[in-house]
């Protein structure tokens, strides 16, 4: 195509000494003009008790120590409720209840009957979906849009899905006679409280095990609401027990000789501690730990959609996601364009009250997590990376952080190696396919990765070379109960979801 010079009235506005390359086009203005009025989700319909006890053997019982601790709303720092602190005696009681239930009836119950309970639980979650979503948002800081549209539906789906497997295990493992392990001790994190509870409880019950579950100390409320539903569902006593507490409570559970299987989702650091603790015992263990996923944009990617995928990859759930796409790799030839689009998109993200339906990025889960994120921001600046954040307003109370990106990052920077677990993106460039595969795999983690290209053959070629348990192509952070999730290397082992999620809870 020939080069065309445009002689128009517009030329008057351009100084003749400037050429097109040096003239900067004025940036687009977002978040001005038409401002969105507050659109808070109503919280008046939820029922929260002032104090919650431990759910053991089908009843809410007081903690042996009589101790309780507060749980707050990280967006306002206000107290929501207080929950019990389980000590060794309580852990023992819970494990014994689970053992009793397993031996006396749950192991022997016809699979179809087990399935009916699991199905009932999923229906009850659906019926109270709105209440669960609001409580999840209040307790953890995640936006109502996400808890309503993603967390709660997925949690109900997990129970539906595994209800279906309960009486089909002989088809899941043909000719192999899978049997339940017995009592499963499960410890879950604060980033997807209800969803992680569903990921743990559903497959355990489907395979005939009983459960003792410990939710995270900053987000116990939806697990306790689930306990109320479980009680109402008529699930036999002791099949599911939910005990709240701090790290020590989890440790006591891990060390209890009456537990046959441990399932843990959380930090790599604690995962290692648990691994050491069960070494030499015959407890089965699965771990779902941290990640530092590479999100890779090739020059033939559909760029605007890729930018959306970058945003979803790192700012979804405030970046509190083990599989977050926290390392962005952009092919150098499209780097400037991608960065421009990314910055424009970040300017439209709204940080604010998680209960507001228009909020894109909610509150950071706790002060300690906010401190960690701020620490890494300082490290990044010190390492010489260039820092960019949108100029949006933050609420003046609560724990909040703007979405941030670092450019000019090197593979050897700490912010490119260590998991930050916040809305902080580290951006590097690459030149060839081989280079980016090497750099993507050059990490002790191996949980997830994302690949963006319009070329189908490249997708198939690349995804098999990524050392990551979950690889997304032209999308990111997509979950489904049918799809197994888990990592390699220091991201843990074992899979949750799908057919693979069953085997960890059987004798196979």
């Amino acid at each position: 195509m020939p080069v065309k010079t445009k002689k128009a009235a517009a030329k008057k506005e351009v100084s003749s000494s400037q050429n097109s390359k040096s003239m900067a086009v004025p940036k687009l203005k977002f978040n001005t003009g038409w401002e969105y009025a507050p659109a808070p989700e109503s919280a008046s319909h939820i029922k929260l008790k002032d104090r919650y006890d431990l759910f053991i053997n089908g009843k809410f019982v007081k903690p042996s120590s009589g101790k309780y601790f507060e749980t707050i709303n990280p967006a306002t720092e206000q107290r929501l409720s207080e929950v019990a602190e389980a000590n060794a005696a309580d852990v023992d009681k819970a494990v014994k209840a689970a053992r009793n239930a397993s031996d006396r009836y749950w192991k022997k119950m016809p699979a179809k009957e087990r399935a009916k309970y699991i199905y009932r639980i999923s229906r009850m979650i659906q019926e109270r979906a709105r209440e669960f979503a609001v409580i999840e948002t209040l307790d953890g800081g995640k936006t109502i849009r996400e808890s309503r549209d993603i967390d709660v539906p997925l949690a109900a789906n997990h129970f539906f899905y595994y209800a279906g497997w309960a009486d089909k295990l002989e088809y899941a493992f043909p000719n192999r006679n899978p049997q339940p392990l017995g009592v499963a001790g499960q410890i879950i994190p604060w980033n997807f409280p209800l969803l992680m509870a569903a990921w743990k409880i559903a497959p355990a019950l489907a395979t005939g095990n009983t459960v003792v579950l410990k939710p995270a100390e900053t987000t116990p409320l939806t697990a306790l609401k689930l306990a109320e539903i479980i009680q109402e569902s008529g699930l036999p006593e002791g099949v599911v027990n939910i005990i709240t507490g701090f790290g020590e409570t989890g440790a006591m559970m891990v060390n209890h000789p009456g537990v046959d299987k441990i399932a843990f989702t959380g930090s790599t650091e604690v995962g290692k501690i648990i691994q050491r603790a069960v070494a030499g015992t015959d407890k089965k263990l699965t771990l779902e730990l941290g990640g530092k996923a590479a999100n890779i944009i090739f020059d033939d990617a559909p760029l605007d959609q890729a930018v959306e995928g970058i945003i979803n990859g790192i700012y979804f759930n405030q970046g509190h996601v083990c599989c977050a796409g926290s390392r962005l790799f952009v092919q150098e030839s499209v780097y400037n364009t991608v960065l421009r689009k990314l910055k424009d998109r970040i300017k439209t993200l709204i940080v604010g009250d998680p209960l507001d339906k228009n909020t894109d990025i909610g509150a950071i889960n706790s002060r300690s997590q906010l401190d960690i994120i701020n620490k890494y921001i300082e490290i990044g600046k010190k390492e010489g990376a260039e820092f960019f954040q949108s100029g949006c307003n933050l609420p003046n109370k609560g724990f909040f952080c703007r979405p941030i990106l670092f450019t000019n990052v090197a593979q050897s920077n700490r912010i490119a190696q260590e998991e930050i677990f916040g809305p902080v993106l580290a951006i590097q460039t690459f030149r060839t396919d081989e280079e980016v595969i090497e750099k993507a795999n050059n990490t002790p983690y191996g949980l997830s990765a994302g690949v963006w290209t319009d070329k189908g053959s490249k997708i198939f070629n690349l995804t098999t070379k990524m050392r990551a348990g979950v690889v997304w192509a032209n999308t990111y952070n997509k979950f489904d109960p049918t799809s197994p999730f888990g990592g390699y290397k220091e991201s843990g082992y074992g899979r949750e979801g799908g057919l693979h999620g069953l085997s960890a809870y059987t004798t196979l």
Binding site: M1, T5, K6, F30, W34, D300, G309
Partner: protein, 306 residues
Amino acid sequence: MNVVKERIVIPDFRLSPRVDQVGQEERTSRFTKRSIKKETKVEGLKLALSMIDLTTLEGKDTEGKVKQLCYKARHLHDSYEGLPTVAAVCVYPSMVRTAKKSVGDSGIKIASVATAFPSGQASTEVKIEDTKFAVDNGADEVDMVISRGKFLAGDYNFVFDEIAAIKEASGDARLKVILETGELVTLDKVRRASDIAMYAGADFIKTSTGKIQPAATMPVTLTMLEAIRDFYYNTGKMIGMKPAGGISKAKVALHYLVMLHETLGEAWMTNQWFRFGASSLANDVLMQLVKEKTGLYQSADYFSID
């Protein structure tokens, strides 16, 4: 904000950027999750009204029909004070003279379709004549159609040159280029056609003639907005956007405004740079405005159809 660069390099349209359909649908669904309430909603509804190109494009149009439409354009709902008028009235070239007289000094623009609308299957000479006739009769804006057959056959040079010729024939009138996205089908093609139109001289790019299904959709419109954004950054020139056909509900119009606001920003949020090509949208917007004021929904009978 229109600071056009001195030298604009025309790209090879065969290499136009790819668009991922699934990703685009996800992004547009997120726009629909925005909760637009209270003063934001009232502002948005009034803005939407001011962006409407009130349209009649029927074989059976007459002077009488056009006169009545123009009156509605000027008096959308007199019992509600402080309403804007629509941006323009859109008619066939044969009705331009009548429409021009009927809108008087209200500031409402006359947009005329041209170039053998809606099919575009005619010689270039005929299309230029059609355009000149409309402009001579007083059209402020020309809505042309591209030659979809030539486009799909890969003759991008032809499509480009034709648009440039019509731009010249339009004189001072602003040129809207209708891509007829329903016939282009894929978002890749929509992007390509958008780029050709803008580099060839379009002032606005428009989705549809409204004569076939599907007409305007959010993924298609978003693709075109993104094309406009890239063009702006490459050349410094602003281009307007007009989704046309299939937008009949106020709620949907608000979703489009959210999409516009979050893709191109404040500068495009006026009827100088964005229009709704709609015939039945106005009354639904009016109904919503009255509801915001009074708290009650009135039946459609309380809003005149023209």
